[in-house]
Amino acid sequence: MSEPKNPTVSSSLEKPEDKEGLSRRDFFNEIAAGALGVAGLGAFVVSVRYLSPNVLFEPPTNFRIGPPSDYQVNSVTYLANQEVYIVRTSDGLFAQSAICTHLGCITQWKPELEMIACPCHGSKFRKDGSVEHGPAPRPLQHFAVRMMPDGELMVDLLELVKPTQILKV
């Protein structure tokens, strides 16, 4: 085995490559290195495409919630699967998120207090989603509710609406 630690042996052998050989080698090396670079980049892109799912097994963002008659006037109904409150007042009906605007805990409707309370940090919201007190910075998010031609209501979680927008039923 050669002694790599012994600089005197190998350093004396060091000498510049001849010009022609160098350029030829460089040309092939460049092709190879370039190709491998492209391959690496391509592999990265393909991997990213591979890793971004084409289908999601998540609850649908819009869903039917039955006819308005399912919801009594002056009631708050919690839909556990979608984490949404369906609130019906004498004015009409709206859907609002059950996720606390503070740190994302799931709030609970307290019928005895007429209040939506967050168990994590004590935020309290009124029935219409506005903040009563607590650390929550914003009122609960409202979602669009639409009446379908067959008389059922449809909630669209992707369409955010102002709290004042209430479906008259």
């Binding site: 190998s10 350029s23 460089d26 591979y50 084409n54």
Partner: protein, 250 residues
């Protein structure tokens, strides 16, 4: 010098590059040696090899191919793991998803499966080739035993991977295979019970095969491969045809 070479050259002078590689361009035997020694992966190779061992007919690169198949399997395997749930029946549905909805999913699975089959073929081929070359003879006895260990690991890796798709092919192949184990006197049944985590092939078996397939067996394989490479170097390089026989006698 081309601009490309200049860029590389400038890059090589940066402190970061130098801290990483501790050497200049490998244009001399010394720097070439340093390149091998200084790299944790390359240092498993000898710095110099005999010219004769570079000839294709010396090895047919069978060992290298087996190792590269292992590399391909590791890369594709890690990617496949990201879409795989070792559960019944999700495992099977994941196969369907890989095929039908994941971009390039079916390609990676094909590649993994193909490389796995090829690795079994090449590991056998490598072994037979080495045998005919007399590679098991002193001083390479130990490396031969390591190689036998790698053969068994390869078979076991391939076998554990066979169950993971949880289709009929997998299920019954493993059923037949594990029943062969149970023929071992006295220890057979307990061994099968331990391997399957139950009396039949179910969710426990799937999880055990999965853990064996992705963690335990590859870990052993990597260690043995490192030893195997290192010992090739230490035992005097690969076995050449001329080494034994007539030349020994003079």
């Amino acid at each position: 010098m081309t601009s490309w070479e200049n860029t590389i050259e400038r890059l090589r002078r940066t402190p970061v590059w130098q801290s990483l590689f501790r050497r200049g361009p490998a244009r001399t035997n010394r720097t070439r040696s340093v390149a091998v020694f200084g790299n944790i992966f390359l240092h498993l190779l000898p710095v110099k090899v005999r010219d004769a061992s570079l000839r294709v007919r010396a090895t047919y690169y069978l060992g290298s191919i087996t190792f590269f198949l292992f590399v391909i399997l590791t890369v594709t395997g890690v990617l496949l793991m990201l879409y795989y749930h070792p559960a019944v029946p999700e495992a099977y549905q994941d196969m369907k998803d890989l095929r039908f909805v994941v971009s390039s999913g079916v390609f990676l699975r094909n590649l993994h499966r193909l490389a796995a089959q090829a690795m079994v073929v090449f590991v056998f081929w490598h072994m037979f080739h080495v045998f005919y070359r007399g590679g098991y003879k002193p001083p390479r006895q130990f490396n031969w035993v390591v190689g036998v260990g790698l053969l068994l690991l390869t078979l076991f890796l391939s076998y554990t991977g066979y169950l993971l798709p949880w289709d009929q092919l997998a299920f019954w192949a493993i059923t037949v295979g594990t029943n062969i184990i149970s023929y071992v006197p006295i220890l057979g049944q307990p061994m099968r019970f331990l391997l399957l985590g139950g009396h039949g092939i179910g969710e426990n078996a799937l999880l055990r095969f999965y853990v064996l397939h992705i963690v335990i067996l590859p870990l052993f394989a990597i260690i043995l491969i490192a030893v195997h490479f290192w010992r090739v170097q230490k035992d005097g390089g690969i076995t050449l045809r001329e080494e034994h026989g007539r030349k020994e006698k003079d």
